[in-house]
């Protein structure tokens, strides 16, 4: 599902954000990526969704090489991913429902199915009562749930959640992680970044990558 070989990323300003990334992620896996701020977690997710391209090594996501000059194929790749951005990136002036539907309008989903899938996703994140609220009127936690609903309603093969635990207290952080990991199934992998490694202690069914200054280490969980 993801195959990275000696991948590195140097931003145009010269910052070396990632180096020597070697990893495989298979369908049905949960992968946690931890590391302090600036260690390269977001950059790694950006590579996975084709928002940045590796400047070293080779990367394949869902069989698609992440390389420049293949705009159409990269777009197809993005369609198969459910991203939950660190800043959510909800579209203002629209309701929660509309935001969730917007993520699906250009996918191969029969028109009649759009509303149903969106509604189901909002139920799953426990936000059906806010379906028709404008997103700018939602709390931080509610906005996050809309962002998660938008990602999972697309029935993606790969869910990428960037720092979903944010500044949440431990209880709420654990609830969000539980929600996100519940979308794992035989065909769907879930990758979650967090700067709080203590949150994932005791997670036996998951893999753990620790990032440090752009390099990665596999860690043992459980």
């Amino acid at each position: 599902m993801i195959e990275a070989k000696d991948v590195g990323l140097r931003y145009p300003d010269g910052t070396l954000a990632l180096k020597n990334i070697d990893l495989r992620v298979e369908p049905g896996e949960i992968v946690y990526i931890t590391g302090s701020n600036g260690s390269g977690k977001t950059s790694l997710l950006k590579l996975f969704m084709g928002a940045e391209y590796p400047t070293m090594g080779s990367l394949k996501v869902l069989g698609q090489p992440v390389v420049k000059g293949q705009a159409a194929a990269i777009r197809q790749l993005r369609m198969a991913i459910g991203p939950v951005f660190q800043e959510f990136r909800l579209i203002k002036g629209r309701t929660a429902m509309e935001n969730v539907m917007l993520g699906m309008r250009f996918l191969d989903i029969p028109p009649g199915q759009l509303k149903k899938n969106a509604g189901d996703a909002l139920v799953k994140v426990g936000l059906e009562h806010k379906a028709h609220s404008l997103v700018e009127n939602l709390s931080w936690g509610e906005s996050q749930r809309v962002a998660i609903a938008r990602a999972v309603a697309r029935k993606p093969a790969l869910i990428l959640a960037d720092e979903p635990t944010g500044n949440l207290d431990k209880d709420n952080a654990l609830k969000i992680l539980e929600l996100l990991t519940s979308f794992k199934d035989k065909k769907t992998a879930v990758i979650i970044t967090t700067h709080a490694p203590h949150l994932i202690e005791g997670e036996k069914d998951a893999k753990h990558i620790r990032m440090e200054k752009g390099s990665m280490n596999w860690e043992r969980l459980g």
């Binding site: 993005r78 369609m79 951005f85 309008r105 996918l107 028109p111």
Partner: protein, 295 residues
């Protein structure tokens, strides 16, 4: 895209949001495109009117042949026959003194009183020769070879001047059409660019979600189209109103100007203005989209 129709409502709503985000600029664009389309509508109407007038005037191309009043009726008929035989002549007939008087009275209208100062009919009979305008020279030449003609009078000078005026009007029209086209394109592409810059964040989000460029761009295309169509409608309404008044104004003092029927003129003008505004709206939005993209 098979979801296109399902998404139509979304596209419209999105276009509305784009307009609302910059309401003032959009209203300004609507009115300025309306204004320039109004100018365009008036120029096009003037074009058609002048084309119609020129055509009608060319059919008025005629030569009046004055003959010696001493010659008998038989000679006049003979002369008539010969003139009829000249190539380029459409119609020949004798205008008697009385008819000449009546015609002048009709042209003078209320001022016909001046004719009453004459004791006798001051007009002479003449042969009216309707011709094809482009054959004017050869007809005049042939007439010179005929005997019994005292003098001829033609209205070529007047016709030529009218034709020149129509020609100038024509080139002015092309200039205005070009100016309208360019300014509409500039206004619309600017407003679309502005809309895109104001929506950069949602656009980037849609890209990250894998939305096709077409899906992202369509609402902006719609905005450009709505603005120019709105401007076109505004202009068409204004122009229809203006033409009504022009016709009323001209019907009184200038009854002899052969205006085309107003309904046909107005509906033709509306069709031209609306289709031009649609085309310019789409092309302008495309310009705006591509210039925003290259930034």
């Amino acid at each position: 895209m098979k979801n296109f129709f399902y998404n139509a409502a979304y596209f419209l709503k999105e276009a509305k949001t784009v307009i609302r985000l910059n309401l003032l600029s959009n209203i300004f664009s609507l009115f300025s495109t309306g204004l320039i389309f109004f100018i365009l509508a008036m120029v096009i109407s003037c074009w058609w009117i002048s084309a119609q007038v020129v055509k009608a005037i060319q059919e008025e191309a005629e030569i009046n042949v004055f003959f010696d009043e001493s010659i008998g009726d038989g000679d006049v008929m003979q002369l008539l026959g010969k003139i009829k035989g000249i190539e380029g002549v459409r119609e020949v007939r004798v205008v008697a003194e009385d008819e000449a008087y009546d015609r002048m009275a009709a042209i003078l209208g209320k001022e016909a009183r001046v004719l009453e100062f004459f004791d006798d009919n001051p007009f002479s009979p003449f042969i009216e020769v309707k011709i094809y305008l482009e054959k004017m020279d050869t007809v005049l030449e042939e007439l010179g070879t005929l005997t019994g003609i005292q003098h001829v009078r033609d209205n070529r000078a007047v016709l030529d001047r009218l034709r020149n005026i129509a020609g100038v009007l024509n080139s002015l029209g092309y200039l205005v059409v070009a100016a309208v086209g360019i300014s509409t394109l500039v206004i619309i592409s600017h407003i679309i660019r502005l809309g895109i810059f104001n929506n950069q964040e949602p656009i980037d989000t849609l890209r990250l979600l894998g939305a096709p460029e077409f899906f992202i761009a369509f609402p902006f295309l719609l905005v450009g189209l709505l603005l120019t169509l709105g401007g076109g409608m505004l202009a068409a309404a204004l122009a229809a109103f203006a033409l009504k008044h022009v016709y009323i104004q001209m019907a009184g003092p200038l009854p002899f100007i052969p205006l085309p029927p107003r309904e046909a003129l107005v509906s033709g003008m509306i069709i031209v203005v609306m289709s031009l505004s649609a085309i310019l709206g789409i092309v302008g939005s495309l310009f705006g989209l591509s210039s925003a993209k290259s930034n």
